[in-house]
């Protein structure tokens, strides 16, 4: 049985459909990332899994329990971290952890937990005087104090400095190794790529793509390259019979099943036409490319526009310099 089971979940706010027919599972010891732009429905999904919202349609089960009707039973095994919320401003971390620890049967030791999240130096400082990153780590510690089996983290690394991020990531990996089922939301690709066993990309309330990072990035094969000067795509197509797409400022992509057959003629053509190659790689799309493609299909037009603007700029620079 999966730790978290979401089946055909739909949530409406009035006429607005925040979550539209979403289904997914999370197993014990698995990290699933809900990735999507702001307002995509990530937080609403999490809130339904934790039992804060009732599903409009569909079902949610966590450890076999209904998060709304079996709410109090589920809370013993569930750890949540809300977006920067839910901390008594007056309470120092040590007292907050002792208080929250008292809610659970077998809590973690507050001092050890403070050590784990690097907050020992501010153990007695009221939460309102902590930095944003310190408060995030306190929220994480509060989420973990009851030794949860299922953990829901809503943007756990937002507002945290790089050192803190690394810390939070290592804590999350540690939880996974202990067999905890984890859902985390983020709108940062980097975060998803580093942490997730599985990524679910949500846009406008629906799942637009999902799978392991490997699955997602293997879907299409292409040769990408970037040059220092704009190329004549029509001429390239005419002479080599390959289709070239623009995918950024002086960045191009050739979709092909066999990159090795494209690279040799392509580099030769670029050399003949005096284009310097900044970089060239073959393989699948990066997560970022997939994310942008599925969440913002209209962006392809924008890319063409930006690339034109930057061309004008670089030609101006060339004239000026």
């Amino acid at each position: 049985m999966p730790a978290i089971e979401v089946r055909n979940l739909t949530v409406h706010f009035g006429d607005f459909c925040a979550v539209n027919d979403i289904s997914f599972d999370v197993d014990m010891g698995e990290v699933v990332t809900l990735l999507g732009p702001n307002g995509a429905g990530k937080t609403t999904t999490i809130e339904t899994v934790e039992g804060f919202r009732e599903p409009g349609a569909g079902t949610v089960r966590v450890l076999g329990l209904d998060p709304v009707t079996d709410h109090s039973r589920l809370m013993d095994a569930l750890g949540v971290m809300l977006q920067g919320l839910g901390i008594y401003p007056q309470l120092p971390p040590l007292r907050a952890l002792r208080l929250f620890g008292a809610y659970y049967e077998n809590p973690r030791d507050p001092s050890e937990l403070l050590e784990t999240v690097n907050l020992t130096h501010v153990a007695k400082t009221p939460a309102k005087r902590l930095s944003g990153g310190e408060r995030q780590r306190l929220a994480l510690a509060l989420c973990l104090v009851g030794r949860p089996k299922v953990v829901l983290l809503d943007e756990p690394t937002s507002g945290i400095d790089p050192a803190g991020r690394i810390k939070v990531r290592s804590i999350i990996s540690g939880l996974r190794d202990e067999g905890v089922a984890i859902i985390l939301t983020t709108h940062e690709l980097d975060e998803a790529e580093r942490l997730a066993d599985r990524v679910i990309i949500i846009s406008e309330g629906s799942i637009v793509s999902s799978g392991s990072i490997q699955d997602l990035t293997r879907t299409s094969n292409a040769v990408r390259f970037q040059t220092t000067t704009p190329i004549d795509r029509e001429m390239l197509t005419r002479e080599l019979n390959i289709m070239v797409e623009i995918c950024g400022s002086l960045s191009y992509r050739v979709l092909t099943d066999d990159p090795s057959r494209v690279i040799a003629p392509l580099t030769a053509w670029l050399a003949t036409n005096h284009h310097e190659i900044l970089n060239l790689r073959s393989g699948g799309d990066s997560l970022e490319e997939i994310y942008l493609a599925v969440t913002q299909p209209q962006l392809n037009d924008q890319r063409v526009r930006t690339s034109r603007i930057s061309r004008t700029r670089s030609s101006r620079r060339a004239r000026g310099g």
Binding site: F52, H71, V80, G86, L91, R95, A102, Y103
Partner: protein, 240 residues
């Protein structure tokens, strides 16, 4: 609901309340200062009761209002706006136990208030008579009514609005609650004031604590508020 988490919550609630300077001011500071001042100085004619005999029951009423409505309402309002209530709803403690813990903490503060204020009043020569159990019952009833009003404000208004309104009601109660001015000096206001829980409470405490019977009408008014307050709070409270 298990008791150990509720107790731990109540202990921390009490500690946080006693750490807030502004709360100490309205729950202990102002009542103590007013008690001593009006017991010593006869600024107004207070009818048959004079000095401490008039002011002590009113100050006990003010103290109950300050902790069960002002302090509880403001703290809960801010906890709601900080998402603390929402967060605790996602722990095994839960919201119902959280409210129980808050009530426990308020009871502890009120006991502390009654001990300190009565001790000062005794020191100033107060003789409350033998109807104390009835007076305690009235204070408990008032506490329920005011606690309900405090939670109603906290659960329906923005935290800042709760802060302003709770403090405003404190001042209004001080003026038209029969605490420093006798109700019959209020003229046209008096009949309106008598319908409010504050004046109902002092209407009960004044006769009881000087050995007489309390008017039934005041008991009924206070009883209605003690139902109206918590019921409307329970119905209208929004955790987010």
């Amino acid at each position: 609901m298990k008791f150990r988490p509720i107790w731990a919550q109540a202990v921390e609630e009490l500690r946080m309340t006693l750490e807030r300077g502004e709360t100490l001011l309205v729950t202990f500071g102002i009542p103590i200062v007013l008690l001593i001042f009006f017991a010593k100085v006869s600024v107004f004619s207070t009818g048959t009761l004079h000095g401490v005999a008039f002011v002590a029951p009113g100050i006990l009423a003010l103290a109950v209002m300050s902790s069960s409505m002002v302090s509880l309402g403001i703290a809960t309002g801010f906890e709601r706006s900080y998402g603390v209530l929402r967060r605790i709803g996602m722990t095994p403690l839960g919201r119902r136990a959280l409210i129980s813990a808050k009530i426990l903490a308020i009871i502890k503060i009120e006991v502390l208030q009654m001990i300190i204020l009565s001790a000062i009043a005794f020191g100033l020569g107060w003789h409350p008579g033998s109807r104390l159990p009835e007076a305690v019952a009235a204070l408990i009833l008032a506490s329920i009514a005011f606690g309900g009003i405090g939670l109603l404000l906290a659960g329906t208004l923005r935290a800042e609005a709760t802060l302003a309104l709770a403090n405003g009601l404190y001042v209004i109660f001080l003026l038209i609650g029969g605490i420093i001015f006798p109700l019959d000096k209020l003229g046209a206001f008096a009949s309106f004031a008598r319908l409010l829980p504050g004046a109902a409470l002092t209407n009960i405490l004044h006769p009881l604590l000087s050995g007489a019977h309390a008017p039934v009408s005041a008991w009924i008014i206070l009883g209605v508020w003690a139902v109206l307050g918590p019921v409307s709070a329970a119905r209208l409270f929004r955790f987010e």
